[in-house]
Amino acid sequence: MGGVVRAEELRVELGGAVVVREDEGRTIASPSTTDEVAALLRLCSAKGLRVEVAGAGTKREWGGGAESDVVLETRALRGVREHSWQDLTATVGAGTPWAEMQRVLAAHGQMVALDPLWEQRATVGGVLATNDSGAWRLRYGSARDLVIGMTIVLADGTIAKTGGKVVKNVAGYDLHKLMIGAFGTLGVITEVTFRLHPLPRDLRSFTIRAPDSGGLATLIDSVRRSHLLTEGLQLRGTQAGLSLDIQLIAPVDRDHLTLFDNLAAAAQCAVEPAAETARAARESLFVQPDRLILKATMLPQDVIPFAEEAVEKGGDCVAQTVGVLLASFPGDMLSLKLAEEFRYHVGSQGGSTVLLKRTAASSVVEWSAHVSEGDRSRAFPLMREIKRRFDPERVLNRGAMGGV
């Protein structure tokens, strides 16, 4: 292990092929092709250098952060390589900012049907490595349902393609599923092929308030049973109470809005036009400094009770009714204790919690490993073994994901 490696040294050894710079004492390499990524990783592996893979850095703390000698920055792996709009597929460089990709796809009225956080900056690779998702997963599923192929580079420089460019394909293992949510610990994603969806037309967004959570529960249930086309059903909990964001496809010539109004009235809910986007609501959780932020997953019917519990314990939260809840708790010791209790309750109901953002005090509190659920199911050793087969020297993102 060679301490800090000099940018100049790497540049020379790579034959000047890869842009390498030094920034505040960190050595940062910006390969612009898959081959350059492979050359860099081969070299780092040979020299025993630890590599951190970085997109825009919007979710750098998620997964616990990594120790590194070299930062592999993906920003030069940028651009929509191919948009086969008639096939509803597109291949994109992993360093492409999410919104930039969506702008290109929108030229043909299409999109990748996922609304991650901070889409102006967050990169395609980063969104997938962290398995981020938003309100649209209600209708379209998560990244694992939208990625149909990938090019990845393993720590030893092996370049592998997985999946393909067709939506229906059962040849070989779905390695791209393994890469989604792996926090870059198994390989570097350099290119991704997505299945696309048409941009929704006639989309209306509303915010719904009810005197108590019972009304919201009734409304969510009746919307689910109806044939309304919902793009998102997002619950928001603040110290002022719970509210529901709903995105509805409602062409003017059809009866959806009337039907929805009737359902809302029956559940004694007041409907207003949405004040902000569903995504903005999630992003606002991360604005305040020194907050502890958790991602909890749970069964759909537990979402309202847990949103209420988070609020009772002094937190704010935004939850998707499919069972994904982001909660932000104040950073003081008492709040951390309450957050730990919340976490325990979620686990006891068959859910899981991972820590997205620590606070100054949380490093003192005993927060167990990232993959707590995995430990319990005894699958963690298998995950470790997969890591060992992919990256035996633990070159990539060492320390991330509970030190898998």
Partner: protein, 491 residues
């Protein structure tokens, strides 16, 4: 022959202290009884296992796999044996684990839209169990009335409706798996996004090479309010293909989009008389959802077909009318027997837009060899089922037909597609894997295999390419016994 000590251990594992009165042993070793298990739906590959074991619980599966691990004997899991690529073909002399006794639905959770099952549960029984609540289990392979969820998980089964609803992998949230070491682990959970690597995602479609699932958590889907089927007749496949692209480009996502060419429509007509118009290409569009959406989309789809030259469009709104249209489509494979003594079915995928080019090339190849190729497609997702027709009695024709069928798969790969959309690689398409994937791609997959199964005991010698033995050949379509018995249809 398996060692007697091992057989005794297997018996102790699944029969307990002894076989009770009126209860058959869960270990079969008589050759006559094991014949049932010597092949799956790909009937020209056969192998005799050393024993067939029928466990009743996850613990028994675990015990069986532990014994296999201890003796270093390979094992293969089998559901109903309807697979079409030889995935459930036994390892010669190894242990075959049959799941017919693990067929219980363990939990129905309507509030959370989940059903938890044992792997031997029949696919359509899941829908039967939740239909009264207005839900269904979406993946619908044509064998759905006989095939098992465990087999569906192994093959990542699709079906005609996966264009809209996705594949098995879309609907599996978690599972308990006995690893080849005999360890029982849980992947995923009833909740989405379980932390850690997506082991569920990589296990689904791994064709039995990573372990044996013993408990599976499924998601169920709300049944649509209305279903309508459109049938359109065209003078050319190109016109029908353009209509498919236009329907998709218009932002519609039909539940199914199927195409048949003249030859396959003719065969279906001869077999089940669905009263199809005589034409070069038939397009079948199924739309589902809220009544007002379906009505609007049906009008739009019909207009698109007309614009592209459809000269007859039928709209089927009742279950009977829909049933008649589907009947011909579902009979397409079996009907080939009416127009050709033998045939090989393939399962290639191409990007939708490559369809005209690929069909043209296929026609050219077919003319060169002098063999007819009939085509049935899941056109919406570019999944082709070309059927190479031939006569085994004519010397050399079978080899020509097999060569042509593999060259068609290569053609699909050359156009950016895949060698299999839903039948799996199994034993049948091992070599074609080497055409589709490079050595480093395959090597990376093998790293996963090695992490799960370092000794290669789970379903060995499948999925990955291997050097072909001298004189060895892949084969023509032979009807599955279930098909001959009229229990299942090939789709």
């Amino acid at each position: 022959m398996l060692p007697a000590k091992m057989i005794a251990a297997l018996q102790a594992a699944v029969d307990g202290s002894g076989v009770q009165v009126n209860r058959q042993s869960g270990v079969i070793t008589a050759a006559s009884q094991m014949q049932t298990y010597e092949c799956d739906g790909l009937t020209n590959f056969r192998a005799m296992p050393g024993a067939v074991v029928l466990p009743r619980s996850a613990e028994q599966v675990q015990a069986v796999v532990r014994i296999c691990s201890e003796y270093g004997v390979p094992f293969v899991a089998r559901g109903s044996g309807t697979g079409l690529s030889g995935g459930a073909l036994p390892a010669e002399g190894g242990v075959l684990i049959g799941f017919s006794r693990m067929n219980r639905i363990l939990e129905i959770d309507i509030a959370n839209q989940r059903v938890v099952v044992e792997p031997g549960v029949i696919n359509s029984h899941v829908t039967d169990a939740v239909a009264q609540h207005g839900y269904f289990y979406a993946p619908d392979p044509s064998s759905q009335t006989v095939c098992t969820i465990g087999g569906n998980v192994a093959e990542n089964a699709g079906g005609a409706h996966c264009l809209k609803y996705g594949f098995t992998t879309t609907h599996v949230l978690g599972m308990d798996v006995v690893l080849p070491s005999g360890e029982l682990v849980t992947f995923g959970s009833k909740a989405v996004d379980a932390p850690g690597y997506d082991l569920t995602g990589v296990f689904v479609g791994s064709e039995g090479t990573l372990g044996v699932a013993t408990r599976i958590v499924l998601g169920i889907v709300k049944r649509p309010e209305t279903v309508e089927v459109l049938l359109a007749a065209f003078d050319s496949v190109a016109q029908a293909a353009q209509s498919v692209s236009d329907v998709i480009a218009a932002g519609m996502l039909p539940a199914a989009l199927e195409m048949m060419d003249r030859l396959s429509a003719k065969a279906s007509e001869a077999a089940v008389h669905p009263n199809y118009p005589v034409c070069e290409a038939l397009l079948l569009i199924e739309l589902d959802g809220g009544s007002s959406e379906v009505e609007a989309e049906a009008r739009e789809a019909a207009a698109i077909c007309e614009r592209n030259g459809a000269w007859e469009i039928r709209r089927a709104k009742t279950a009977e009318e829909r049933g008649l249209i589907w009947k011909g489509r579902k009979a397409a494979f079996a009907a080939m027997g009416r127009i050709s003594p033998n045939y090989i079915v393939q399962d290639g995928v191409i990007p939708r837009t490559a369809l005209p080019k690929v069909l043209e090339a296929m026609q050219r190849m077919s003319d060169e060899v002098g063999l007819r190729v009939a085509n049935v497609f899941h056109a919406g997702d570019g999944n082709l089922h070309p059927m190479v027709l031939y006569d085994r009695e004519i010397a050399g024709q079978e080899d020509l037909a097999m060569d042509l069928s593999y060259r068609i798969l290569h053609l699909c790969v050359d156009h950016g597609g895949s060698i299999t959309g839903e039948h799996g690689v199994g034993k049948e398409k091992q070599e074609a894997m080497g055409y589709m994937f490079s050595e480093p791609d395959l090597d990376t997959m093998k790293r996963v295999r090695a992490a799960f199964d370092p000794r290669g005991l789970a379903n060995p010698d499948k999925l990955f390419p291997r050097p072909r033995m001298c004189g060895e050949k892949s084969g023509p379509y032979v009807p599955h016994p279930l098909e001959t018995a009229g229990v299942a249809e090939f789709f």
